[in-house]
Point group: C2
Chain length 172, copies 2
Amino acid sequence: MRGIAYLLVAVVVLSGVVYIAHASGRSDEQAAPMFGIKIPPGYRDWKLISVAHEEGNLNDLRAVLGNDVAIKASREEKLPFPDGTIIARLAWSYVPSEENNKVFGRSQSFVAGAATNVQFMVKDSRKYAATGGWGFAQFKDGKPADEALLKTCFPCHEPVKARDFVFTHYAP
Amino acid sequence: MRGIAYLLVAVVVLSGVVYIAHASGRSDEQAAPMFGIKIPPGYRDWKLISVAHEEGNLNDLRAVLGNDVAIKASREEKLPFPDGTIIARLAWSYVPSEENNKVFGRSQSFVAGAATNVQFMVKDSRKYAATGGWGFAQFKDGKPADEALLKTCFPCHEPVKARDFVFTHYAP
């Protein structure tokens, strides 16, 4: 009996350790309000869909990555994107590269500076039926954007309804 | 004995088929002269190191991808890059997006157009000892660049010798 008691104590203590480890590792996993989307684990390892540059207030360089479902659909140019698609838009400040310009002998090179924010579109045609089947999220330094900002996502994507609300084309 | 003779004939015929299939499938795999580098299979699936924009004659948007060895070294900021590193630089023409600009209500959005060319840096400190341990390649529509062009690669990368001849920094 004493053996079983020790075992139970060990299980309880270990559960506590696992819980604490899980909780302390969650800083980057807070759910964005409204759509309730968390940062998808490993998204920085996803394959590239395309790149872009936005001038104006955004003034960034961006990369659009996709999980395997997104990449397959993008390459096959199949619309609508199937449930399970997740598209990640990473962006960094648009910074002239003195180092590169010195080599080129002219001011022509712009590179990725600090990360600005990361956005996700998650396809779930039932859960997000009210917004074209897409849930939207934005995180800055791991912190989710507020509801007011997330409410602006879908109206902005509506003009590209014919492309299932996705702006980015796959870059071959 | 007749059985063995048939077997030998079969082996010879099949070898021929395999050889022809191999030769006819090589159009995209032609080695670039000078460094003898072929297009690494599956490079379009590699993980993203960073993005950039070059103005001037290049006028492109670019993505720098890396094989697993390259990504690991980039993230750990370990120099020099180990043998086996391959870095791929993809580039597309820099195209204003009418579609995006309409949504933004101003001319600010630039996206990837047609692919221009793809370049590779392959680390092999013994094989390419004369050029800092790096072999260089460029392909346009699957065709390798000529020797004259490849001779310009290393001199251009020499100013960043302190970073093991690699311009691109990893974008977090």
